[in-house]
Structures are given as structure tokens and as C-alpha cells.
């Protein structure tokens, strides 16, 4: 279909600046512009979600509900979760993948550039719809980001247009946008690889994005359908999920988690991909067991379709279901463990350089190991029955979503910043950012584990005084984490405006994206590369392509 894109005899002009700042506010079909549009938009929402988190931590610094009223508190955690997932984590990862995948596989753009732009522009649209709910008389949705009925169907304002209504519209649009993205990524990776770029010559990051987007394709329709059915229940009085009218409230939980657990792998897989890119570069060694690491992403995607009931162990599920889903959930740890051990073996005996991206990746790896261990604990039915819906779970998934995913995202931002902007970032500010976020994350989320074991439930605005000690520490960590983004913002804006000019390949990294100019020209490659070897050829001094590499680069590798 759009393979014609490749054959177009357009030749990019490398000396012409590809974009001005105004380009980023247009309906551009350049995957690099769209990638940065995604990243910047979602980062703005990350800041909003972060402010909500600090209001939550402010409320929880004392046992009483005394900072905001309970309805406001409920709106805060609902919006915090919704924004952090649907408007930060998902879009920022799609943004990075948008930027990198075509460059890494040697394509000039995504398979469907216009669809790509449409999918992006839906993000600000549903972001605004969601934020608009603050201006309704009833305020935003207050049923948590799961929106379990019947609570989500209770509508105390009685208005047709209420917070929950806008929330569901936003989630449905987000689902459609992500499905579009999924179709685009899968097609691009299957169809648009450069000559010689076989599947087992693709970087592990591309494998990870491929696996993640396959999950989007089979999982998202369930969530989107669930959201639409809930919307019908809420506004026109159907009875899919309302027990008062004969509906089944637990059915919604199946719809919701059938996607929303695999969604965790949609989120974590690209971050695993980032780790697989970054460790070899800064250890100067090939990725250990590359093929197994690549295939383990697909394995995780496969298993992820059979684990969702582990969110419902306390929901009134029969015993056989609990046991089956316990075992399937535990098996996720096998391909995941393969990756972790492979990264450790990659680092081992290398020539490590602790730059900012490497620090973020190492910090992310350590916190991920911790999150993985608590994850196994949670999959065990008897333990889950005690800690389900407590702060133990909240601590666990924040170690995943901040400790691993957000740390991995920062690693990626710093690593590819010179490529994206043509400028170098400031190393000192980057390291300050790392230490503040590493300490802040642990201070914020580690105390949640003892709180959960003691029985403190999530989503509470007030709690018994026995929980005060750990909550104070968590809140201090939360505020520190909030402050940790300041050096990052300063660094990114300052470096983009007046940073040192970046060479094409400042890290001496191996990969197609490092063979083009920084920032890359509009059509990426003047000449489509012909790939002749596997990725990660560190220490092997063999060229990656038959036509793009200059002699001095090869000399450089020796």
C-alpha cells in the first residue's frame, strides 16, 4: 500500500534544517516531528499528574482528611492514575518508538504517516476533554482509574455530562488512538525494514516495541468496548454492569483487566528495549544472548494474554481460576528473568562509563529487580488476598512505573537527546537529576510496602494513626521526587537552546540511527542502508551496513 513511500525518488537535503519550532504545532506527518510532539505533550501531562500526586501525598502526611475534602481527594487519585497512564506513560513510549523505530530499521517514515499524525492529535484532544471535567459542577471522575461499577455509575449530580462521562469518552478515544498506533507500528516493522535487516538483525528495542504493539492490537478492543458499555450504562440506562438492573459488576473487571494488565507489558517492554540498547553502548560489549532477549519479548507478550485475573483474586473468583492465573502470572518471571540476567552479563567485564543515561538505566534495573520480586509475592494467591488493594500493591507498581519505566524513559531522553536535537545535554545537571530521582523514588515508594503489609488500603483519604510514620517518609520522598524534575526541565530547555553542538554519533554507538546526521534529515536516509550484520557489534570491528559507514568510523571501532 504505502510502500510507495520508500520508492519515492525524493532526496533529502541534509544541510537544510529539517524543522523549526513552528513545525511542532502543525499536522506534520514526519515521524520524528510526531515523536517529539508525543514526548513533549505527554511530559506536560506528567507534570500535571505529578502535581496531583503531591496533593495526594500532602493529604496523606497526616492521618486525618484535612487538606482537601474527600471528594477532591478521590478526584485527585482518579485523575493522577488516569493521566499518568493514558497521558504520560503510553503516549511518551509511543513518542519514543515513533522517533526511533523507522530510524532503527532503516525506513524513511512510518507505514501510514497520516494515520500516525491523526493518532497523535487525538492525545491533546482527549487530554483536554479529561481536564475539562474539572470545570463541571460535579468535578472530575472519582471512581479511581479502574472505574469499577457500580461506584462509577453513581452520578450524584444527575447531569448527563458528568466527570465519569468525560472520563469514559477520553479513555475510549485514547483506545482508538492507541489501536491506530498499534496497526502502524506492526505494519512498519513487518513491512518497511531496510534490505538485509532481517528479524534477527533488528535491535532489541524494535523487538520490544513490536511485541508491545501486538498486545495493543489484541487487548485494547476489550478495554475500549468495556468503556463504551459502561458509558451506555451511565448515560442511557443499559444494564451491562449495573447489578441493580440485573447486570454483572464483575464482568466489567474482566473487560478492564483483560487489557489493563497486558498494558503493563505494553509499558514495560519498550523500557526493557531501552535497557537493551543502553547497557551495550556504555559497557562497550554486545548484548548478551541477543536472540534470546529478543524472543523473550514476544514470549512475555504471549503470556500477558493469560494473566489478567490476578487482579481479581479477592473479587469473588472461583478457586480453580485463582490457581490457574497464579501459575500463569508467575511464569512471566521466566522470560523477564532471562532479560535481567542478560543485562547483568552484558555489564559484567565491560568497560563501563557512568554517563547520565547509564546511571538511569542501572538505577532502573535495580529498582525493577525489586519490583519483580514483590510482583512474584503478589501473584501468590494467599499473599495477594492479604495485600490486595493495600499500599503494598501501590508500592509495587510505582517501583515498576516510576522506578523502572520513568527512569528508563529518562535514560532514553538523555541517550537520544543529541540525536533528536543536535545538541549535547549538561552532564552535571543530568547526574543531579538522577540522584534526586533515585533517592526520591525509594523514599517515596519503599515505605508503602510495610504500610501495605500492616493493612493500609489504597485510595484512603484518612487512616489510623498507627500508619503515620511511614506516610510522613513517603510524603517527603514524594515532594523530593517532584523537585527532581526541575533540573531535568532546566537541562532539556537549556541544552536545546544553547547546548554544545552534537556530532552524529557522540556515544560511538552502533545502530542505524547513529549513521545519520543529528538531527536526522526529513527523509532520514539519503540512501537506504543495506544491513550486513547483527546489532551490538561492540568489540568486533565489523561494519553494520554495506553502504553508509565511512572509513573513519570503522577505524574508530578498532
Amino acid at each position: 500500500m504505502t510502500n510507495t513511500q520508500i520508492e519515492k525518488p525524493k532526496i533529502a537535503e541534509p544541510h537544510h534544517p529539517p524543522t523549526t519550532w513552528k513545525t511542532y504545532f502543525t499536522f506534520s506527518t514526519d515521524h520524528k516531528v510526531i515523536g517529539i510532539q508525543y514526548i513533549v505533550t505527554s511530559f506536560l501531562f506528567f507534570l500535571i499528574g505529578g502535581i496531583f500526586a503531591m496533593i495526594i501525598r500532602g493529604e496523606l502526611i497526616t492521618p486525618e482528611a484535612d487538606l482537601v475534602d474527600r471528594t477532591v481527594y478521590n478526584a485527585m487519585f482518579t485523575m493522577h492514575g488516569t493521566i499518568m497512564l493514558f497521558l504520560w506513560t503510553f503516549p511518551v513510549l509511543v513518542g519514543l518508538a515513533n522517533y526511533l523505530v523507522p530510524l532503527m530499521i532503516g525506513a524513511r517514515d512510518m507505514a501510514f504517516p497520516r494515520l500516525n499524525a491523526v493518532a497523535f492529535w487525538m492525545v491533546p484532544v482527549f487530554g483536554i476533554i479529561l481536564m475539562a471535567s474539572f470545570f463541571l459542577p460535579g468535578g472530575p471522575a472519582q471512581a479511581g482509574w479502574w472505574s469499577y461499577p457500580p461506584v462509577s455509575l453513581q452520578n450524584p449530580t444527575g447531569n448527563l455530562i458528568n466527570g465519569q462521562f468525560l472520563w469514559l469518552i477520553a479513555v475510549a478515544i485514547s483506545g482508538v488512538s492507541s489501536i491506530m498506533g498499534g496497526v502502524n507500528f506492526v505494519t512498519t516493522i513487518v513491512k518497511m525494514r531496510a534490505p538485509g535487516m532481517t528479524f534477527f538483525r533488528m535491535p532489541a528495542y524494535v523487538w520490544a516495541v513490536f511485541s508491545a504493539q501486538i498486545i495493543q492490537l489484541f487487548g485494547l478492543p476489550a478495554l475500549t468496548a468495556g468503556a463504551v458499555m459502561l458509558l451506555l450504562d451511565l448515560s442511557i440506562g443499559t444494564a451491562f454492569f449495573d447489578p441493580a438492573k440485573g447486570g454483572n459488576a464483575v464482568l466489567f473487571q474482566h473487560f478492564f483487566w483483560f487489557y489493563s494488565h497486558p498494558a503493563v507489558y505494553v509499558i514495560i517492554l519498550p523500557v526493557f528495549g531501552i535497557f537493551s540498547e543502553i547497557f551495550p553502548v556504555y559497557s562497550r560489549k554486545p548484548l548478551f544472548g541477543y536472540k534470546v532477549v529478543a524472543v523473550s519479548s514476544l514470549l512475555i507478550a504471549g503470556v500477558s494474554g493469560f494473566v489478567w485475573v490476578h487482579h481479581m483474586f479477592a473479587s469473588g473468583t472461583p478457586a480453580w481460576m485463582r490457581i490457574v492465573f497464579m501459575i500463569s502470572t508467575m511464569f512471566v518471571s521466566v522470560p523477564t528473568g532471562i532479560k535481567v540476567f542478560a543485562w547483568v552479563a552484558t555489564i559484567w567485564g565491560g568497560k563501563l562509563r557512568l554517563t547520565t543515561p547509564m546511571l538511569f538505566a542501572l538505577g532502573g534495573l535495580i529498582m525493577f529487580v525489586f519490583a519483580g520480586i514483590t510482583g512474584i509475592m503478589l501473584s501468590s494467591v494467599p499473599i495477594d488476598i492479604h495485600v490486595n488493594n493495600t499500599y503494598f500493591v501501590v508500592g509495587h507498581f510505582h517501583y515498576v512505573l516510576y522506578g523502572t519505566v520513568t527512569m528508563g524513559m529518562f535514560a532514553a531522553f538523555y541517550h537520544w537527546f543529541p540525536k533528536m536535537t543536535g545538541r549535547m545535554y549538561y552532564e552535571g545537571l543530568g547526574k543531579l537529576h538522577f540522584w534526586l530521582s533515585f533517592i526520591g523514588t525509594n523514599l517515596n515508594f519503599l515505605p508503602m510496602h510495610p504500610l501495605g503489609l500492616q493493612g493500609m488500603l489504597r485510595r484512603v483519604a484518612s487512616y489510623d494513626p498507627e500508619y503515620a510514620f511511614w506516610n510522613v517518609i513517603a510524603s517527603i520522598g514524594g515532594f523530593l521526587l517532584g523537585m527532581s524534575t526541575l533540573p531535568f526541565i532546566l537541562n532539556m530547555i537549556g541544552s536545546w537552546v544553547q547546548g554544545e553542538k552534537a556530532p552524529d554519533n557522540p556515544w560511538r554507538a552502533i545502530g542505524l540511527e547513529w549513521l545519520v546526521a543529528s538531527p536526522p534529515p526529513v527523509e532520514n536516509f539519503e540512501e537506504i542502508p543495506v544491513v550486513i550484520s547483527e546489532p551490538y557489534g561492540y568489540g568486533k570491528s565489523e561494519p553494520l551496513t554495506a553502504n553508509l559507514e565511512k572509513q573513519e568510523l570503522i577505524k574508530d571501532l578498532n
Binding site: T71, A314, I327, I338, L352, L354, S380, L557
Partner: protein
């Protein structure tokens, strides 16, 4: 040289195992008191997982830390590391060991689960056919007491003892008896959760869920709503009093003579008088149910 390396590895493994076992023992102190037969089983399983987890965590982070300290590139060293691309033996080992560990953890968890015999609603019919179901219940000393009805509503707990027709907002239970509850919700999803018992079950509207357990330690514990139920969710808590069978029977008899009076209800109180100092939005809320009328208001 080779022998030295092996000795160092063995030394590290012993140190790691020691640290992990110690950590596993610490785990018991992270929980509330063990007030139900089930809580002992869960704490034991958790302690085992903490030991195992500590071993893995220290093993991985120890290796990474060693690399960070000893495998750094010199300032002007631009050379690459050894181009090692993999090692089949190593990869087979680190795939097989996790598989075996997973099977071990799953079997252990399953056994504990079978001993606890926590029932999902669909298991209620089969409970008496499960031989292991009462293993943790000290059956010999007990005759099951009457089934207590638990009603959850926005935002109050009401307990009804049908034989004496006693209602209460505080849950009284005899110690060392198999307790049988019938959980019901009047409106939305709620969760029945007593941290000291390590037990939790969601309550689904229009369904009656049977739930059994055995308290083993007299005392006062907290019962909390564990499934988000709307505005005053956090305030939906009450006390559970575990007492000797004599005290329990005495309490039932006295309560039966009391006239029903409205119980103190935090959600209703807060709704009528706004909390001072808090930022209020004026967002409307579902109106709390009126304070329940019970024989024994807590």
C-alpha cells in the same frame, strides 16, 4: 586461581544465604498480630518468599555493584570490552532455575491456599468435600457457630446474628471457632478485610458470598472496607472483638435485650458537618445511608 574463584563464590553464596534467611525471619515482624489460623500460614509463606527474594535481589545487585566498582573504563580508554555474545550453558541454567523456582513457589502457595480453603462464592457448595479445607481450623474443639450476616452499605457495616436476632455495628466473634459469614452489599462493591486475619473478600451487590475463617487470638482488631466504595470509603471501618465463647454468649444475650438505637457513623457525621480547615470543592456526593439502628451500637 580456579580453586580460589570457586572458594570465593562458595563464600559469597554462604553469606547471601545467611543474609536471606535472616531477612526471612525479620518478615514476621512486618505484619499485624496473627489473630486467625490463616494468618500463620500466610506469614510462613511470605517469610519464605522474602528469603528467596532477598537472595535474588542481593545476588543481582551485588553483581551489578561489583561491575560498577571494578569494571569502569579509564578516562581515556576508548577501547571496547570483550565481544562475548552469549553462553548457551549459562542461558540454559538461568532459564531452568527460574522455571523450577516458579514451580516450587506455585506448589507451596497452592498447598497453603488449600489449607486456608478461602472460598470464592462458587466454592460454597463444595466446601465440605475438601479434605484439607479444615486443616487450619482446630476442628476438634469447635462446632461451627451460627452463620453471621454481614451487610455493607455506603458507608457502614451492620452485623446480624439471626438466632438471637441481634444487630450490631461491631463484629463480635468467639475465639477458636470456625466462623461462617454471609456477606452482602446493599449498593456498590465493598471489601471485607481484617488485616490481623490476613483475609479479604470483595462483596458483590445482589450476591451472598459465604466466607469462613477461624480467629485464634482474643483482642480488638480493625475491619476495613477494602474495595473503593465512593466518597467516605476510608471512613468505613469498625472494630472486631474476638472473645472467649462464654464472653461471646454473654454479649449476645445482653445485646438481645437492648432496644435498637442509632449507631455512631463517621460518614453520616462528616456529611452533616464539614471538616474544618479542609479545602472544599462543593462537588456533590452520594448521600451516606442514615446511621444504622442496631441493638449494639459501637
Amino acid at each position: 586461581m580456579k580453586i580460589r574463584n570457586i572458594l570465593i563464590l562458595i563464600g559469597c553464596a554462604i553469606a547471601l544465604t545467611g543474609a536471606s534467611l535472616w531477612m526471612g525471619q525479620q518478615a514476621y515482624s512486618w505484619f499485624p498480630p496473627q489473630a486467625a489460623a490463616e494468618s500463620k500460614l500466610i506469614d510462613e509463606l511470605f517469610s519464605f518468599l522474602v528469603s528467596l527474594g532477598t537472595f535474588i535481589f542481593l545476588g543481582v545487585t551485588g553483581t551489578v555493584t561489583y561491575s560498577i566498582i571494578f569494571h569502569r573504563a579509564g578516562k581515556y580508554d576508548t577501547s571496547d570490552g570483550p565481544p562475548i555474545e552469549g553462553n548457551i550453558t549459562l542461558e540454559v541454567v538461568w532459564t531452568t532455575i527460574p522455571i523450577l523456582l516458579v514451580l516450587w513457589i506455585a506448589t507451596y502457595s497452592y498447598n497453603i491456599y488449600a489449607e486456608m480453603a478461602i472460598q470464592g462464592p462458587m466454592e460454597a457448595m463444595h466446601i465440605h468435600t475438601m479434605a484439607s479445607a479444615h486443616a487450619a481450623t482446630m476442628e476438634s474443639t469447635t462446632e461451627p457457630i451460627e452463620k453471621i450476616e454481614v451487610l455493607a452499605k455506603q458507608w457502614a457495616w451492620v452485623f446480624r446474628y439471626p438466632n438471637q436476632n441481634v444487630t450490631s455495628t461491631e463484629l463480635h466473634l468467639p475465639v477458636n471457632r470456625r466462623i461462617s459469614l454471609a456477606l452482602q452489599s446493599a449498593d456498590v462493591l465493598h471489601g471485607f478485610y481484617i488485616p490481623a486475619f490476613r483475609l479479604k473478600q470483595d462483596i458483590v451487590p445482589k450476591q451472598t458470598i459465604d466466607f469462613e475463617f477461624t480467629p485464634i487470638r482474643p483482642g480488638k482488631y480493625r475491619l476495613r472496607d477494602s474495595q473503593f466504595s465512593g466518597t467516605y470509603f476510608a471512613a468505613m471501618q469498625t472494630d472486631v472483638v474476638v472473645q472467649s465463647i462464654e464472653d461471646y454468649n454473654h454479649w449476645l444475650k445482653t445485646a438481645a435485650t437492648q432496644k435498637p438505637t442509632p449507631a455512631n457513623n463517621q460518614a453520616a457525621n462528616e456529611y452533616t458537618q464539614k471538616i474544618k480547615g479542609a479545602f472544599t470543592s462543593g462537588y456533590p456526593t452520594v448521600i451516606p445511608a442514615p446511621p444504622p439502628l442496631v441493638n449494639f451500637p459501637s
